[in-house]
Amino acid sequence: MKLTGAEILVRTLIDEGTTDVFGYPGGQVINIYDALYKYKDELNHVLTAHEQGAAHAADGYSRATGKVGVCIATSGPGATNLVTGIATAMLDSIPMVAITGNVPCSLIGKDSFQEIDITGITLPITKHNYFVNNIESLQDTIREAFAIAKSGRPGPVLVDIPKDVQVATYDYEPKEKMPKFPLRLAKDSEIEAAIKLLNEAKRPYIYIGGGAAGLGMGQAIVDFANRIDAYIGCTFMGLSSIPTDCPRFLGMQGMHGHYASSMAQNEADLILGIGVRFSDRATGNVKKYAKNCKIIQLDPDFSEINKNVSVDVGIVGDVEYSFKKIITGVLDKKNPEWVDRVESLKADEARFEEEIANKAKAPLTPKMMLDVINENKPEGTVIVTDVGQHQMWTAQYVKFDRTRRFVSSGGLGTMGFGLGAAIGARVATGDPTVLITGDGSFGMNLNELATAVSHKIPLVIVIADNGVLGMVRQWQTLFFNKHYSNTVLTDRKTDFVKLAEAFGAVGKRVFTKDEFADAFREALKVTDGPVVIDAVIDKDEFVLPMLPPGGSIDDIIVNIDKEGK
C-alpha cells in the first residue's frame, strides 16, 4: 500500500512494538503529527511541556521496561532541546530512538528557518544517527535504528527526517523487527582462564553494573555467590538488579557507596565485574583501586576492557553466555574467613548508620523519609530520582524488590531528568511510580507537571527540600572553606505547594516523619494525577560515607558533624 513518509514512520514505530511516544509538535513535524492523529488508536502520544522532558520520558520508558523509548521533536530548537536527554541515555547505555523533523532537502544547508544540523550536533552523543534523504530507505532505516539501539551495548539513535521525505509517498508493507546483531561468544580458553581465577579466589566479590541490570540475571548471580561464598556489590547503575534484602548483597560501592561494599571490594582478592565500566565515581583513584586483586570483566563492548582499569581476564561479548559458561566450571567453595570479615564490615556499617541516626535532631531526615517510602511503597514500585544528594540517599537506602525499578541518571548526572523520566516510566509500566527529587533538580524541569496533570498520570513526587544545592554545598563545606557560592536557594521563595496547585496538581508540605508518612500514604491513593510532597529537611545533611574526589578507600569519610569535622 502507498503511504506518506510520515505514515510509514508511525506504522514502523508500531511494527517495532512501540506503545507510547513522547514529543512536541512543530513546523517540520506537522506531517508526523498528522499520521499520529490517524493512528492514535494504535500509538499513544504524550505531549510534554518541553522537548527535553520528552527525551527523558522516552529514556524512563526504556529504563523501566527494557523496550526502546521513542521521542519526537521538530527541527531547530526542538531538536537541540533533545540533546541533554539523548546524552543522558548515551552515558547510561539506554536504548532510545529520537525522531526529528528537518527542513526539506531543497532548503538544507541554507540556514533556513529552524534548520539545524542535528546529526552533526548529536554525533558524539548517539550510538548512531541518520539523515534520511530519500523515502525509499525510510522504513528500513527506522527498523535498523531500533536494532542498533537495543543490540549489544544499547544506546540512543537519532533519525532526522526532512519534511519532503515525510510528505512523499512510497510502498509500505509491515515487516518483522530487524533482529538484534549477534554478540560475540566467549572462547573456551577465556572461560577457562576466568574459572581458574575464581577457583583460586579466597575473597571473591561479584560486581554488577548497568550492563547486567536489565538482563534479569539477579537470581543466578545470587545462587552463584552462595555456592562460592562470594559477596555481591554493585555500581550505581547496577542497583535494583539484586533484591536489596539478599544477605549476600552489600549494595552500591564507590564515592557514596555502602561502607561494607566499598571496603569488601578493596579487600577482595578477586572481582568478577559484570557489565561494569569502572567509572571514576566507582573507583576513586584508579592507581589505588583494588590493587591486590585479580579482576575478571564481562562486557559486550570491546572498548570497555582495559579502558579505565587493567583487568586480568577480559571477556567481550554476550555477558549472559559468558556468565553461564563460567559458573558451570567453578567448584563450590567455603571461605569462612572472608564471610567473617565481610559480616564484621556489615556490622561496622550498621553501627555507623546508627550513630548518624542517633545524632539526628531534625524532625525529618533523609533516612527517615526513605524508611517511610520503603515501608509503604507497593510491590514493584518504580523509584525515579533526579541528581544530587537525594539521589545518593535513595541509592543507599531504598529497598528494591525487582530489576528495572530504579530510574536515575548515572553517567551524565542530569539534574532535571527525574520528572520526565517518571512520566515515561509510569506510562510504560502502569506501576506505582515515586519520584524522589530535590528543590534544585525539580526547579529545572518542573514544567512537566503540566504533562502529568493533562495526561492524568499518577506520580508521587517527593521533594527533599533543603533550600540549597545540597551536593555542591557538601563539597563547599568539606573542600571550599564553606564558601557557599550560589548554592543557597531560599531567596527564590518558591512555594512548591502553591506551585503544584497552580499546575492543577495536589501539593502538601510536611516537616516531620509522621506528617511525611501520612502524606506519602495519601499520595499513593491518588490515581488521576501527580501529588507533590514538599518535605522540608535541614540544609546541612551530608551524604555519607564519602570517598573524597580523586581519593581512595583509605580516605573514606564515614561520619562528620554539620561543621564538616
Partner: protein, 166 residues
Amino acid sequence: MNKFVIAVYVENKFGVLTRVTSMFTRRGFNIDALTVGETESPEYSRITISLSGDGYAREQLINQLRKLFNVRKVEVLEPDCIKRELMLIKIENRPEHRADIHYAADAYRAKVVDYTNDGMCIEVTGDPTKIDAFIEIMKPYGIIEMCRTGIVALERGKETLLGKEN
C-alpha cells in the same frame, strides 16, 4: 611511543569520515596522518591512519573504531606492510643548486613536474621514511611549499584485510 598504521574499511555512506574523525577528537587521539579512498569494492572506502602511541592508545583506538556502526573492519597492519606516500615539493631554483637538486631527484626516482626560472616542483613517491629523507636533502636549497598525501598501505601476500578473522 611506537609508530603504527591502522587500516579501516568503512561503508561508503554520508558522513562516515566525520564519524571517524570526530571520535578521534572526542577521545583525545592524536593522529599523524589520515588518508581515505576507494577500494576494490564500491561499497567500502579504506581509511589509512598513521599514529604514534603506546599499546594502550592503540588498543583503545581500535576498539573505539570498531564500535562505530559504519566501520566494517579495523586492523593494525604488520610492520613490514607496503607503505607508500606521495609528496609535491616546491624548491627555489637557483643556478648554483640546480644540478644538485637534479642529482638528488634522480637518486630518489623523483620527477620534476613544474619548472620556472625561480622555482621547481618535484613529485616524489615512496615509503614515508624516504620522503622524510628527501625533505632533509632539499632543506638547504630552500623549500617554498610542500604537501604530503599521508600514507596508503597494503599488507604483503594474497590475504586481504576483509578476509582476516577478528
